[in-house]
Symmetry: C2
């Protein structure tokens, strides 16, 4: 069924009446980098004033929930740490509650400090990550490497300090430690930055995927694992819940996997052409809205950012 | 047809009688790391004494032909620079003679100094590679990056100093320079080292492949491009030529693509189980020999290494 285009005050009001829980992707929906989308502050305040349940769902694996909260603070947008679900946090929860990693077992991390913070908070022991020993320009020598037999998982997120040492160590654990799990925070091939694109978390795990001919278990959107993590912490009725995002292959597919309604905004990655005839994407949102900020008209306020 | 197992002096002699040109993979066939396979020196000397044409064909993209010659010298095995065909050299020849890269155009290199040496020798201009500006631990900032519009190809080989800066720059050229070629020296997922395996050249190009949803043109074995390069430099009759290697998916497939006979040795990657019933690989060599050194029995010499 073709998506419903929302473009009138009446349609905006129905949207707000029909749902109790609003899940938001962040970059491309609420902001672009450090620039808030016009009207967002008013729209989120309006939803809160009407007792709507707000959850932020992001694949960004470099930031912890506390880092994310700081970003909201800097942009002057109200948010609570427990409203934020990032793929770093979801990966830590997956290890602590789904895998139930025993306390004497470790995770080898390819990733940044936000991912490490979430692992620590969930009581998951890790090595690698930002450890200076692994962030070295010295050549990696396999003959000098000591395999830690207690490493039972490799977790790979976005790591802009990726190097051959980390890839080689991760590879040894995946080959040589029996049953070693291969996890990725998310599989985004790229992410938007400064008007262009840079390699995303999926590209950082790609060498291991290629070398081992093995796909990781991916935690972030569009997989349902992230929603399982949200369900463990929040109560919501899927029939009264809507996922709002700018990417068909992550946000909208995530909503569909989770059995909630979906709203695509055109302020991010997806263009009008991708959702229009004659060859629209097979991933069809329930609703399309030019910008989430358009709902600010309901507040009666003048929009300033 | 099942491969012929060579295990008698008579069979060894027929092999030598039936072929004029012997193409060899190196690691796993002639040596393991810095350790010569027993009997190799005698076998190669015996072939030369019988006026056989010898060509070394290797996917190693970190060494130039001159580097390779030094390795032969160190191991006390006779070899000439023009007998060596590495994927670094073949990639340079591909750019200079097949692509015919104009003199005012450049290649962005992810790779090591052996690859750079071959590009220089073939008169191909490049940037990236071992340039200290790209081998930095500083974070890559897209807003500070200046796109060089004369970069017409990205060439990716094994680079043990791989980092986010190089991957990000390569990605910009492939996205933003119209028609920019995406080349890989070879696609080996791993390579053997110190009794284990490390990520190979194919794993180094994997992030770009994943980020861009685009496969590179791969120059090395098993693709026929390397054989085209050999043909440009040497005359040989495919009906009287045999490719000898330890990997089914690179060496033996390369020989099959090139229409020459193939001999698998079991001193490297491929195990007896992989070529035996009930589930052998679909890539079937013409002959199987335990070790190339076994032919040394024909020389009548005592084998010392």
């Amino acid at each position: 069924m073709a998506p419903i285009r929302l473009s009138s005050e009446g349609a905006y009001q129905s949207l707000i009446d029909n749902y109790d829980t609003f899940m938001f992707d962040c970059d491309g929906v609420l902001w672009h980098g450090d620039q808030l989308v016009p009207g967002i502050r008013q729209v989120l305040a309006h939803l809160r004033a009407h007792n709507k349940h707000i959850i932020f769902v992001t694949n960004n694996a470099t930031k912890s929930r506390r880092n994310y909260k700081k970003k909201f603070d800097q942009l002057g947008v109200q948010a609570e740490v427990n409203e934020v679900f990032g793929s770093a946090y979801a990966s830590a929860v997956y290890l602590s509650t789904v895998v139930k990693l025993p306390k004497d077992r470790k995770v080898y991390v390819i990733g940044q400090d936000g991912l490490e913070e979430e692992l620590r908070d969930e009581g998951v022991t890790y090595i690698g990550g930002t450890d200076p020993q692994d962030n070295t320009s010295k050549p990696f020598k396999l003959e000098d490497f000591e395999l830690d037999p207690t490493v039972s998982a490799v977790l790979c997120g976005l790591d802009t300090a990726i190097n051959y040492t980390k890839l080689s160590k991760a590879m040894q654990y995946l080959i040589r430690n029996p049953g070693c799990l291969f996890l990725a925070t998310n599989e985004d091939p790229t992410f938007p930055a400064s008007g262009g694109y840079l390699p995303g978390a999926g590209s950082i795990s790609a060498p291991l995927r290629y070398a081992l001919r093995r796909d990781p278990i991916s935690i972030g959107k569009p997989n349902a694992t992230m929603l399982d993590c949200i369900k463990a912490k929040h109560h919501f009725d899927p029939a009264r819940t809507i996922m709002i995002g700018d990417r068909l292959d992550t946000d909208i597919l995530f909503g569909k996997h989770g059995g909630v309604s979906t709203l695509l905004v055109l302020t991010g990655v997806t263009t009008e052409e991708e959702v229009s005839a004659p060859n629209p994407s097979p991933i069809i949102p329930d609703y399309i809205l030019q910008s989430l900020g358009d709902l600010a008209v309901l507040t009666g306020e003048e929009i300033r950012i």
